[in-house]
């Protein structure tokens, strides 16, 4: 039974504070000491002109080095290892004694990990595509294909839905403010609650989706038990979630277009479509390209929605690359192959990075960021 009110007693309350308050104090003292020492060193010993800039930057630089660069390098190191749930003892300082491995890190592990992402090898021969999870449907090409489909559908629907709403809201229309604040609500809801609530609404018997379809005489559909329907369901939820972002961005863009352009175009006899094609779209481009770039990256990496709603099932129907990665590392069905998952994550990052370079150089997106 729970203690206190909802599990909160004086003891648990102070236990948490006892961890948090010293942490904040230590961090603040560390920042001040670091800045003081670095400033004196740079300005008085090295006589650097930008000493103050580097000093001000140092806490962020340390945070990024420790909490981002180090884990990323460690991830590369893990790809050179055979870390699994059952070999974890070797890597933990507490129970090294029980370790069965000859060596912790080695090139042979890395070769093994990276080949296994793509190929299944038996007796030195490639027999099949490699399985990222235990099931046959979890090959690399299948997951990559599904990820591309997932990203494509989401971005197309985000864009068209957001643009349609922004165009309507940009007209002279009453109650504009109310509509806008209602439409951005999906954005404000905590993600887990969105996913869990929609998961229930897609429930075959009690979910609202089937109740609504029943009103049109459509037989109940087991949304989350069928791979294709489940994929439709998660795309729907992510589209619902992403439209407000585009609407806000594009509405901002539309409002910044001077009405004089349209007046001039009308004088020249341009119709509605021509005005949209030759004035609205080109002038939205500086906002659209970065928004689409970010959206592609976010959608490609959308892990929490899939883990909460379907966890990649049924029959791998909703697994994309990142959710398969999560399941390979921490899932219940797989054997938690962390070394292998690290290698897999590096390959996913390389794919995304190549896409980003190609897309940014061809579209000229994010140019302003580099130039500033």
């Amino acid at each position: 039974m729970v203690q206190g009110i909802g599990g909160l007693t004086g003891e648990t309350l102070f236990a948490t504070l006892g961890q948090i308050v010293p942490l904040i104090i230590v961090v603040v003292i560390f920042i001040l000491a670091l800045e003081f020492a670095l400033y004196n060193l740079l300005s008085k010993v090295f006589k650097l002109q930008n000493a103050l800039a580097y000093t001000l930057l140092s806490p962020a630089a340390v945070a990024i080095l420790v909490f981002m660069i180090y884990p990323l390098l460690f991830n590369v190191l893990l790809a050179f290892s055979d870390l699994k749930r059952d070999t974890f003892g070797c890597y933990s300082p507490v129970s090294v004694a029980t370790c069965q491995l000859d060596h912790l890190y080695g090139l042979d592990y890395a070769i093994d990990n990276f080949t296994k992402v793509f190929f299944r090898i038996r007796d030195g021969q490639i027999v099949d595509w490699g399985r990222l999870l235990t099931t046959a449907g979890s090959t690399f090409p299948a997951l990559l294909g599904r990820t591309v489909l997932w990203t494509f559908f989401n971005v197309i629907f985000h864009f068209s839905g957001g643009l349609a709403l922004a165009l309507i809201l940009n007209q002279k229309i009453r109650l504009k403010g109310i509509y806008r604040s209602l439409i951005v609500i999906p954005w404000a809801l905590p993600g887990v609650i969105t996913f869990l609530t929609w998961k229930q609404e897609f429930h075959a018997q009690y979910g609202f989706v089937n109740i609504l379809l029943g009103g049109f005489g459509i037989a109940p559909i087991s949304w989350l038990d069928n791979p294709i329907y489940a994929f439709v369901a998660i795309v729907f939820v992510n589209v619902w979630l992403g439209i407000p972002f585009y609407m806000v961005m594009l509405l901002g863009g539309l409002q910044s277009i001077s009405p004089e352009y349209y007046e001039a175009a009308q004088m020249d006899g341009a119709g509605a479509w021509q005005q949209f094609r030759f004035i609205t779209m080109p002038l939205l481009r500086p906002i659209l390209i970065p928004a689409v770039t970010l959206d592609v990256i976010w959608t490609f990496n959308k892990l929490d929605l899939i883990v909460v709603m379907t966890n990649g099932g049924p029959q791998e129907g909703t697994n994309i690359l990142v959710s398969a990665l999560y399941n390979a590392a921490f899932g219940t069905s797989a054997t938690q192959r962390l070394g292998f998952a690290s290698a897999f994550s590096i390959i996913i990052f390389v794919i995304l990075f190549i896409f980003a370079i190609v897309w940014i150089t061809t579209s000229g997106g994010l140019k302003e960021i580099y130039e500033k």
């Binding site: 039974m1 909802g6 599990g7 909160l8 948490t16 961890q19 948090i20 942490l23 961090v27 920042i31 930008n50 580097y54 930057l57 806490p59 962020a60 945070a63 909490f67 884990p71 990323l72 460690f74 890597y91 933990s92 709403l165 165009l167 007209q171 229309i173 439409i183 609500i185 404000a188 809801l189 905590p190 993600g191 887990v192 609650i193 869990l196 609530t197 229930q200 609404e201 009690y206 609202f208 109740i211 009103g215 619902w240 806000v248 961005m249 901002g252 539309l254 009405p259 349209y262 004035i279 970010l294 690359l321 990665l325 999560y326 921490f330 690290s342 994550s345 995304l352 980003a356 580099y370």
Partner: protein, 326 residues
């Protein structure tokens, strides 16, 4: 004014007011048909459908916007409705907002049968700590990026953009192993360390965008008056940046408040869960408890939602400032 509004106004000019009146009558007829169907079948969905279609026929923009607004708010209304249901009716197929025999039993069960308040307290402690550290670390770093042209500035900014591209899984694996090696699993400090990873780059990015909009003349004037650079920063820039600082605080807060995946990996024991883990457990595979889930969702969502709607103008401008506008 957009192209679409131009076309509606031209159409109005061509055919006069009659066209609008015809559409109003048509819309009215459709709505009345919906009402009749609803009265005949006792299904109020027909009335809603009729009114929406009627509105669509009369003023199509409002029809679309009302329909989309309903779709946006709908999950919120549903969890409120389910949270008020008595246990016997939890699985009913009704779509009423205030159910018959409404009760607060699900809410009280959260406090008597579950560790709900403890979970919220843990989340709050973690979230506030991450937000404070994020703002403190980012405030000065972003200022350096905004005002100085030092060696390594461009690579630094490009790196901050690149961090957006890193798949979550690529960081979760090493962070999990590091946290496990430091024996910080099941400890909220482990989670704070993990969240700072994502909070800092994003905060710097938004704050830099905001500082860029403050003219450097302000500090220069203060420095002429005898302030040194740091005094100018603390006395002039920081007070002027209060809106941006609070936006960054709020974004870090919202980001960590509902984080699920990292928390699931690091916090295993029920006694140290954050609320997303607890709510997920309510509708896990074995014990589906919609009442408690819905009540808990309402309690954690409504404050965030009110905050968001109250501050939405600033929040949205802050996000656009950081991510898109240069």
């Amino acid at each position: 004014m957009s192209s679409l509004s131009e076309t509606t106004s031209t159409r109005k000019r061509q055919s006069g007011l009659d066209w609008m009146q015809i559409r109003l009558i048509l819309g009215g007829i459709i709505a009345v048909i919906g009402l009749v169907l609803a009265l005949l079948s006792n299904e109020w969905g027909y009335l809603l459908g009729g009114v929406l279609l009627g509105l669509l026929a009369w003023k199509w923009q409002h029809g679309i916007l009302v329909a989309y607004s309903i779709l946006s708010v709908f999950p919120v209304l549903r969890i409120i409705a389910i949270s008020l249901r008595p246990t016997s009716a939890l699985l009913s197929r009704t779509i009423e907002i205030i159910p018959a025999n409404a009760t607060l039993a699900s809410y009280s069960a959260l406090f008597t049968e579950e560790n709900f308040l403890l979970w919220v307290w843990q989340s709050l402690a973690i979230t506030v700590t991450v937000s404070i550290i994020g703002v403190v670390v980012a405030a000065t770093g972003a200022y350096a990026f905004s005002r100085w042209r030092f060696a390594g500035r461009r690579p630094g900014l490009i790196f901050l953009m690149t961090t957006q591209m890193i798949p979550a899984g690529m960081l979760i694996i090493p962070i999990y192993v590091i946290v496990a090696q430091l024996q910080l699993t099941n400890q909220i400090i482990g989670l704070v360390l993990a969240y700072i990873t994502t909070a800092v780059p994003f905060s710097i990015w938004i704050l830099k965008g905001y500082y860029d909009t403050i003219p450097p003349d302000l500090e220069e004037a203060a420095m002429v008056d005898g302030c040194n650079r740091m005094e100018a920063f603390y006395r002039i820039i920081l007070p002027l940046s209060t809106p941006a600082l609070s936006i960054v605080f709020l974004f870090n807060f919202l980001g960590a408040w509902a984080e699920f995946i990292v928390a699931k990996v690091i916090l295993v024991s029920n006694a140290v869960w954050t609320w997303p883990l607890g709510l997920n457990d309510f509708i896990g595979n074995f014990n589906t408890d919609w009442g408690k889930y819905a009540a808990g969702s309402v309690l954690v969502t409504v404050p965030v939602l009110l905050l968001f709607m109250w501050q939405s103008k600033y929040l949205i401008s802050g996000l656009t400032l950081g991510s898109v506008k240069s």
